[in-house]
């Protein structure tokens, strides 16, 4: 899973360090990442399929957006990283 969060980092490149830290230390953040990755992988599947998935594509795009907002909220509201 760790390697897969690269796609999340790509979505929020300004927060790379924070994302990595939260992923290691915050179980709720881990969960939202898992949901996000499931959502994006399903979306990719549907996009490859025929137009019977159009409705689901729309629904999953909205969901992806919601999950991104949720991640962003968690990233921004989390405490500053401990200093090294």
């Amino acid at each position: 899973m760790r390697e897969n969060i690269s796609s999340i980092i790509e979505s929020f490149p300004d927060f790379e360090t924070k994302i990595k830290w939260l992923y290691e230390n915050d179980s709720s953040f881990q969960d939202v990442c898992t949901d996000y990755l499931l959502c994006t992988s399903k979306l990719a599947e549907f996009r490859k399929g025929d137009n019977k998935f159009d409705k689901m594509i729309f629904e999953y795009e909205e969901l992806q957006n919601d999950l991104e907002q949720e991640m962003l909220h968690m990233i921004k509201s989390s405490k500053p990283l401990p200093e090294r």
Binding site: S27, D31, V32, D35, L38, C39, K42, L63, D66, E70
Partner: protein
Amino acid sequence: MLSTDLSTADQTLVYPKKEIRKQLDQILSHEMFSHSPVLSNFLKFIVEETLEGHTDELKEYTIAVNALGKSADFNPQIDAIVRIHAGRLRRLLNEYYQGPGRDNSVKIEVLKGTYIPVFRSHTVEKAKVSLNGSSRTPSKSFSRTKLTIAILPFRYLCPDNKYQFFVDGFGEELTQSFSKFQSISVIAHHSSRKYSSIDADVHRIGSELGAHYLINGSVMRTGKEVRINVGLVETMNSTQLWSKSYNYALKVDNLLKIQSEIVDHVCSVLGGYYGLIIQDGMHSAFKNTFADIESFDAVLWNYYFHMNFTREAYLKTREALEKAIVDDPDNACCLSMLSELYLDAYVLGFPTVDDPINTGYQLVQRAIKINPRCQHAYQELAWVQIYRKEKEEAIVAMETCLSLNPFSVSSIGAIGFGFACVGEYKRALPLLSKSLDLNPHCPWWFHLGFFLIYFHYQQYDQALESALKIDAPDEIFLKPLTRAIAKTELGMIKNAQPEVTALINDFPEIVSHLRLHLGFFIIDDQILDRLMAAACKAGLPIHKNPMISEELI
């Protein structure tokens, strides 16, 4: 008469339904949820289905179709929408309870890996502001309505991965075994498993999982030996309450046996009505809220009463249980306890309901109808049958009770006592001995069981030893009576006179109808005859029963 595990397999019924619905309305009316109709529908559906007892139907498909408006051809293999929304709902609920819902008394949670919500008591200390104006992080505490434990993944302290399966198995096995105790809620292991990789402190884990207690452990291998350490930690104060090391010779073919032995032992010591977890929970709750019956849980009152049998505890317990039944008439656990309480009062001479045997019988039948796997209800059914002098039915109920959770040390002991009262001494002795071996914190009436057994076998030294261990309050006549009888049978009639005098002075009514009082719960006529004869010999003013032979007296 006597109590063991609390008894509802259906933990949702720990709270009155109306309280849960009120909490649901409160959540749904908050803007965090009102802005999200999908999550609101999801939550409403799973809570309502659970309250109606339809938890078997809480599957991805039914949720998708009934709560999320999906069509009948919904395929969970293709569409992961329910799983994803479940995660969102879980996090939104957590956020709600950390913020606007922090003062709500009931917490509705959706744990990972299940769509069945759990309902917990929830109180959160408000952030304490210090003199310099800074605030401390709020910490959660959970009142003791139902004690909750989580089994953390055991740590593997060996250099290789050869025995990882053995280590992982402890979490699964302990979770499964503890879930058989109806007195304790157990967090699903897939929820606690994540803490194997995240280094969090005990307080935080307890707070996140809503667990009052954590069981943790480690496995080490040294040469040809394996050492397994297991501990119990209280999460609010991060206090280590218990720990034990188990050492075994390491052989690949005995790993499952080792695991099974350790799991059995840990469950026996910590689980059940007289296990360390309930004991500690009771003491904690008692310390905080002794005088406040509203906040002190009826179930723990019941436990407290059955540890000492005082009139004061009886009255408090009865008040709390009767209130609990009014609030939640389908609570099998409380119905069984109330049945038990009415019958106990009948035996002990405390004020009770009219016709306690029939009232108790009706309550316990209702409890079994509501929850056919309610261990406590079967235990009470056994006692009702004893009071009704129905020995065979009592034995069947006792056997069913034991089969429902063979790990429950308290049930083993209570049923052992029951067997002694119906005259099945051979079956009684090993059960009582096993219970006492595994958990020495037994109530005083376990020793009454031993007394009856040894008295039956005419082993009066041991009968006296058991009688001396009956640490009942002074208002219980059985303490002086068993001592007087055992001393008399040992030829120490003079020595028995303080107890005889106490009986005559303090329990004149019981003494004059002694056979009747003993016969409430001892249905072996032979031992009753012998007890009465010994009491007579001791000098108690008992009317001679023509059925007792002169030889005995």
